[in-house]
């Protein structure tokens, strides 16, 4: 029983309220009521989501762009797989390059076997594609050809009949040289009728043309699928070729071995060489030694993949968030404690709060650039190259600029909330502090800050949300590696595949933002003393 309430409490703290009727139902508590709750909290939102996906799938393909039609949910899902494949291939290459001895050989054998397999699969896939294409041609012919024929035939007929009518009228006109006024007017009427007839024919023709064009819109999902399967296999094959090279002749181990053998040979011949060759062989040895040294510590230059970019974006947003908190909380406390200080800060808050990140970023990039004219040898940046984990994410001036921009745009919520929280200290609590004669710091840490904590965390939550939104924009503009950079690259690339990958980013950014918010909600609840939360 108590376990159940612990779970329910946990659910409440995490803000995952939709789970609580499930837990209650599982323990058999008021099933009818719980079913109703499940309907409201789980079924309805799910249906809403499904409706959204359906609408998306219907509407998206109707709009054509220079990057192909707007991707449907299933295309976006495939694009997600594409991003993941690319990441896995690159990681495999990176790891493979460093493999040694037996391990390398087994891996090489596995890759070689796989490439043969992929070759077979590719052959089958190609046959399937050809078959699909043929089937589609047939389908195209059976649906489009009749429409085209009808259109062509009618066009021919109407053209012929128009020609005939024109010729007849022209011939008649020739006989009207001496005709009466009446006869001439009758001819004019005939001319009008003929004209009207032609108009009707034209309308009919236009109708058929529409029908023909509509038939041409026909899509062939099986051809698309087959093409996609082919592309995937081609990608894998391309990867395997490179991978086998990396495990084989281009592997660090073999390169080193070859260089060492050569060094040994050169050395032997150097020791027995005559004066003419001594200089050449000697410098050869030195060059070889240098080569061995660099190769021994070389790595595969892995390109940035989205998972790595996401981690870097998270690092960046947390760096900015920490900076914002470090600035906003102390200033907010001062604002809350002193009305005078608050009055001094108010104009700054009002003035700088609405400034867009897109204005801050270039300014900050220039300022930070001024501090780091030579980023490669900057002591501050080189410090991060030694920090484990962080060293993999290349802290550069662009990263710092993005983080500072995030801080500048997000600190306001925390600042204002902290000031509010500190200002809301209970007068009775202050009286207790006065009776106890608590000093300034004791009052601050024992009474003021604990009171303000829930509001401070509410501010931090807003700040983190703002920061995450600002970050993607900042990365696009600063081309600092991260999610924003990925979006920018995909935009520049302009293929329909990268178009779909941008949609994937929408969901990734959304989900991460949601998780960050949830985490902050949990923190907020943990520091709120009025909710029944067991702390420590």
């Amino acid at each position: 029983m108590s376990a159940k309430y612990t779970i329910l409490k946990g659910i409440d703290i995490a803000g995952l309220n939709f789970l609580s009727p499930v837990v209650r139902l599982a323990t058999g508590e008021e099933p009818a009521k719980q079913m109703k709750e499940i309907g409201r909290l789980i079924v309805i939102p799910t249906l809403a989501f499904l409706a959204f996906f359906w609408l998306w799938a219907v509407v998206a393909p109707k709009h054509r762009t220079k990057s192909g039609e707007v991707p449907t949910p299933s295309v976006v899902w495939d694009a997600r797989a594409g991003i993941w494949r690319f990441h896995n291939y690159e990681t495999a290459k990176q790891d493979g390059f460093l493999l040694q001895g037996k391990e390398r050989e087994t891996e090489l054998a596995r890759a070689t076997a796989r490439i043969a397999e992929v070759g077979m699969l590719e052959k089958i896939a190609r046959q399937q594609l050809t078959a699909a294409r043929e089937a589609s041609t047939v389908k195209f012919d059976t649906t489009v050809a009749p429409a085209k024929n009808a259109y062509d035939t009618l066009r021919e007929i109407s053209r012929e009949s128009r020609k005939g009518r024109t010729a007849a009228l022209k011939a008649e006109a020739a006989t009207l040289n001496t005709a009466t006024e009446e006869a001439r007017l009758a001819f004019l009427q005939k001319l009008r009728d003929t004209q009207a007839r032609t108009e009707i024919d034209k309308l009919e023709l236009a109708k058929l043309k529409d029908r023909y064009e509509e038939a041409q819109e026909i899509t062939f999902p099986e051809v698309k699928d087959a093409t996609r399967a082919n592309t995937v296999l081609a990608e894998e094959k391309q990867f395997l070729v490179k991978y086998i090279d990396m495990l084989g002749k281009d592997s660090r181990e073999l390169k080193l071995a070859a260089a060492k053998t050569k060094l040994k040979e050169t050395r032997t011949s150097f020791l027995t060489a005559t004066e003419g060759d001594l200089y050449r062989l000697g410098s050869g040895i030195i060059k070889n030694e240098k080569f061995i040294k660099t190769t021994a510590s070389s790595k595969y230059a892995k390109p940035w993949t989205l998972p790595k970019q996401i981690v870097r974006s998270l690092l960046c947003v947390f760096a900015g968030f920490l900076l914002a908190s470090a600035i906003a909380i102390p200033i907010g406390i001062l604002c809350g404690l002193s009305a005078t200080f608050m009055a001094a800060m108010t104009p700054f808050i009002a003035l700088f709060k609405p400034v867009s990140p897109l204005v801050w970023l270039p300014i900050i990039m220039i300022i930070i650039g001024g501090f780091m004219p030579d980023p490669e040898n900057n002591a501050f940046l080189m410090f991060f190259d030694k920090v484990p984990f962080i060293k993999n994410y290349k802290i550069d001036p662009m990263f710092l600029s993005s983080a500072v921009t995030v801080a500048l745009c997000s600190l306001w919520a925390t600042l204002v909330n902290t000031a509010l929280g500190v200002g809301a200290v209970d007068k009775d609590h202050m009286n207790v502090a006065r009776v106890l004669r608590l000093g300034f710091w004791s009052r601050l840490f024992k009474i003021v800050i604990p009171t303000a904590l829930p509001l401070i965390f509410a501010g931090l939550r807003i700040s983190l949300g703002v920061g995450w939104m600002v970050l993607v924009a900042a990365e696009i503009l600063s081309t600092s590696e991260g999610i924003g950079k990925f979006v920018n690259d995909m935009y520049t690339n302009g293929s329909s595949e990268s178009f779909a990958q941008m949609f994937v980013v929408v969901f990734i950014v959304g989900i991460i933002g949601m998780l960050l918010d949830r985490i902050m909600v949990v923190f907020q609840r943990l520091v709120s003393f009025d909710s029944a939360v067991p702390a420590g």
């Binding site: 106890l436 904590l453 003393f529």
Partner: protein
């Protein structure tokens, strides 16, 4: 604080000397308290009784040193009180416990501050002693929001007592509690007071409570310009038992006396208020146009 100067028992231990407290600018000052005098002897239990809004809380703030008088002085053991301190422990009506701290930690905050030299063990023993004194040992690690009103006020009492103040100032400590809890706490406070005699000033609006607890009951006249009137001495023998007290003729006499005094005071105050009829400025709307379209009387026309 460590050296308590010996004090002649006959002289007042805690006193208000011609104290006035006013608000507003000097030429238009409204006095909440005016020329108030109070003398409390050492170890005396004094109740101050009055209607709400008559400046009772101001009185406590003055005695505690949380508020300075506009004129006159507050003295304790002959010294002028200039600021609050742990020698005069205050128990507030609103408990004023820190909601993020447990019972233990709330008291610890006070004890650590008042007795900084205590060792860890001494500190714990001291705190636990006072928690036990108010019968809260089972709730030692609970947060205030997990406690009932009576329990919260007990924590507040324990915190105030743990500072070992020479004077206890109780600002309507029980008025937020229900009758049952109130009776229990009254008995507890009395019991503690009997054990360790202290100077106590309790503010209350409950005549029974005042008679049960105090040596002297001092009525506070109606504000503004409130004042302390002549005291009613309570000669009832201690320890007093609330079950037999109501039968006691002296109790009955005192209760009638004080109640009729308070009722009379209320009547005088109302009469004096009636005599001060203020003519209100004539306020009639300038604009007789309909205020809104939804006004029915206009629409029906």
């Amino acid at each position: 604080m460590s050296t308590i100067t010996p004090f002649p028992t006959s002289a007042p231990f805690l006193a208000l000397n011609d104290v006035s407290v006013g608000f507003g600018p000097e030429n238009k000052r409204v006095n909440v308290l005016e020329n108030t005098n109070l003398e409390v002897k050492e170890n005396e239990f004094v109740a101050i009784i009055g209607f709400s809004g008559s400046g009772k809380s101001t009185l406590v703030s003055l005695l505690a040193g949380l508020q300075r008088p506009t004129t006159g002085t507050v003295t304790m053991a002959g010294e002028i009180v200039t600021r609050p301190g742990p020698r005069r422990g205050v128990m507030f009506q609103s408990y004023s416990l820190l909601p993020w701290l447990s019972v233990y930690r709330n008291i610890e905050l006070a004890v650590k501050q008042v007795f900084p030299k205590k060792s860890k063990v001494e500190l714990r023993e001291h705190i636990e002693h006072y928690i036990e004194m108010v019968h809260l040992t089972p709730a030692r690690d609970k947060k205030p929001h997990e406690l009932s009103g009576g329990m919260r006020q007990r924590v507040s009492l324990a915190r105030t007592l743990s500072m070992q103040p020479e004077v206890l100032l109780l600002d309507e400590p029980l008025s937020a509690l229900d009758a049952l809890n109130r009776a229990v706490l009254q008995d507890e406070i009395l019991q503690i007071w009997e054990q360790q005699k202290k100077t106590v000033v309790i503010i209350t609006n409950d005549v029974d409570e005042a008679i049960l607890m105090a040596d002297r009951i001092i009525p506070l006249t109606m504000g503004p310009r409130a004042n302390l009137d002549t005291a009613f001495p309570v000669g009832l023998e201690r320890p007093r038992d609330r079950r037999t007290l109501t039968e006691n003729p002296e109790y009955k006499f005192l209760k009638t006396e004080i109640t009729s005094y308070l009722v009379g005071m209320n009547r005088t105050a109302n009469e004096s208020r009636d005599s001060r009829i203020v003519t209100m400025p004539e306020v009639s709307p300038r604009d007789f146009n309909p205020v809104s379209k939804n006004d029915r009387s206009v629409r029906s026309r």
